[in-house]
């Protein structure tokens, strides 16, 4: 994996929103990369900046009030931030596509699935309508929708939640993207359906050899499908490493706090250890480390110094002062 050139590199990304009440630093210095064919998880709670990071990659930040104030997003070596709106439109849906959380609001209710899928295919590929329709049916079949040639004529409301999410995935796959961004794709679904959809993601990835960025708040989903994980807190990365390493030797107090907060299904019930306090207001972040007010291991220096992301072990990055002395300084 080491020598593989990354498919996507996000460097020092800052996406801020300029509102009446001040600047909201939704994403404030995020670095990560995605290798071809891998699944990268981005975890965090509401307001941690995980969705805004995804929207920034796709150039979907509503502006005003939002603006990417700094950073680079290199996709196949080219900076997406330097592309024109027209060029981005070519990339979006073809090279990089997205699956949203809520399949009901992300499908157009007044058009049949066929019409919406054909539109996507025709927008990006030089094919006839007939070919586009065949492609749509083939895709629905691929994602496991029974009787696709009939179902393609249905409207979104005629599908169940799980089926709608399958339709969304089929649409996202329409042009064989090399990167699929899935923003909480299973959050709105029941667990048995979630299991089906996660299975589908794994199968599609294998068959189509694409990279996936899986945005979620559920560490269980991360453990199931992701190769590497970026944990975000208040717009900044907290920890970035392999999934196994994160669960075995997670280092950042926030990561550990999250894991202790989740009830586990095991014979002996332990009391949950929650993280105290509330996430900070992104428009008014505390000085120093933004996790400091909730951190168990807070030191005096945490209140004044904002730590940087350090590689404390091979491929294990942590942004915490506790680990700064044992570091080998790495510029990231």
């Amino acid at each position: 994996m080491e020598s593989v050139k990354p498919l996507l590199e996000v460097k020092n990304l800052h996406t801020h929103f300029f509102t009446k009440t001040g600047v909201v630093r939704a994403v404030d210095g995020v670095n990560f990369d995605v290798k071809p064919g891998e699944t990268l998880g981005i975890v965090g709670e509401s307001g941690s900046g995980k969705s805004i990071t995804a929207m920034s990659i796709l150039g979907l930040i509503p502006s005003p009030p939002g603006r990417i104030v700094d950073g680079e997003i290199l996709f196949k070596g080219e900076d997406l931030l330097k592309k024109s709106e027209n060029q981005m439109r070519q990339i979006r849906g073809k090279e990089i596509s997205m699956v949203f959380q809520d399949p009901m609001t992300s499908l157009n209710p007044v058009f049949s699935v066929e019409k919406q899928m054909v539109e996507t295919v025709l927008a990006h590929e030089k094919v006839t309508k007939k070919q586009a329709r065949d492609r749509a049916i083939e895709l629905l079949n691929l994602v496991g929708i029974p009787d696709p040639s009939k179902r393609v004529k249905n409207y979104p409301h005629e599908f169940s939640g799980g089926m709608r999410q399958r339709v969304m995935i089929a649409m996202a796959l329409a042009c064989n993207p090399s990167l699929l961004i899935a923003d909480e794709p299973t959050t709105a679904l029941d667990v048995t359906i979630q299991a089906q959809i996660l299975e589908l993601f794994k199968k599609m990835q294998k068959e189509l050899d694409m990279a996936i960025i899986m945005i979620t708040h559920d560490l269980g989903v991360v453990a199931e499908v992701c190769d590497r994980v970026l944990v975000m807190y208040a717009g900044k990365p907290a920890e970035f490493t392999d999934t196994k390493k994160l669960f075995d030797q997670g280092k950042h107090p926030y990561t550990l706090g999250l894991m202790n907060s989740i009830p586990k299904i095991s014979p002996n019930k332990e009391k949950l250890i929650p993280i105290t306090g509330l996430p900070p207001n992104l428009g008014d972040l505390p000085k120093g480390c933004s996790f400091a007010p909730r951190c168990k291991h807070v030191m005096d220096s945490c209140l004044s110094i904002d730590p940087t992301l350090q590689e404390i072990d091979e491929n294990h990055f942590v942004r915490c002062l506790l680990y700064e002395e044992s570091k080998k300084a790495v510029t990231t």
Binding site: E45, G220, A223
Partner: protein, 331 residues
Amino acid sequence: MSALLELKNIKKHFPLKSEKLFTKEKPLLKAVDGISLSVRSGETLGLVGESGCGKSTAGRMALKLLEPTEGEIWFKGENITNYRGEQLRKLRREMQIIFQDPYASLNPRKTIEQTLAEPLKIFGMPKGQVTQRIDYLLDVVGLSSYHKQRYPHEFSGGQRQRIGIARALALEPELVICDEPVSALDVSIQAQVINLMEELQAEFNLTYIFIAHDLSVVHHISDRVAVMYLGKIVELGDAGEVYSNPKHPYTQALLSAVPETNPHREKERIILKGDLPSPANPPAGCKFHTRCPFAEDICRVQEPELKLVSTGGQMAACHFAKEVVTEGNFT
């Protein structure tokens, strides 16, 4: 332990719009289709199932927020099924509910003080004591008395849920129905609220019916668990027993579908085919047969009864779960 609340074969059928013209017959959506449960004083009974399985409807019937179509509800040894008006109002003091959405369940135009004072005033608490009681309630749920002049929008989701809990506890109820109380909250906040609920239960000797779709949360908080599927209870028993040794294929599938937070453990997963059938048109026989990996002919025609499947009192409604015959009734 005595039963605080008993549901006896309760059903709730909602009439749907008729598809045919000129007919009085309306198709029915059978949200809850005959469940019997007894809730023991001081315990937490978890009610799990996927969306549309009738778990919330069952909870609301227990509180008499919905009238059951059929069946009886007993509370502290009294049949409350036909309680109306004043009788019902008095009863409500003893049973309360915490709702899922902390954004929608608090009146946005009332301060926290007004919200919390309302039930106290209705039940005739002298004015002098009201303020004191509110301060106490806020303290109990981990908020401060200076919060009471604020409006709901000034609070975060977790804090609002705490207010919802304070409101439910205002009248010192015995039974609290918790309808997905933590599913709208972030993980770190969720743990805070779960711990709070556990502490309050111990302090005030509360009985909870905990309705949720998150299986690990239910396992954590419940003493006993009832698993529902399409308006029926398919499995019921001690939480530890049901989770470690599920007897019904649906419970097995449900538990295997929970994402494992340990990346080293490869879990054998039962992936169910298809979706939940519509409760407006449920399958004949065992309602789970359309998705069940073990379904046989008998499942398509005959509906299984809930029967005792372990000496510990675990019950399951499946033709192929082995029945255990013992003395006594565990429902």
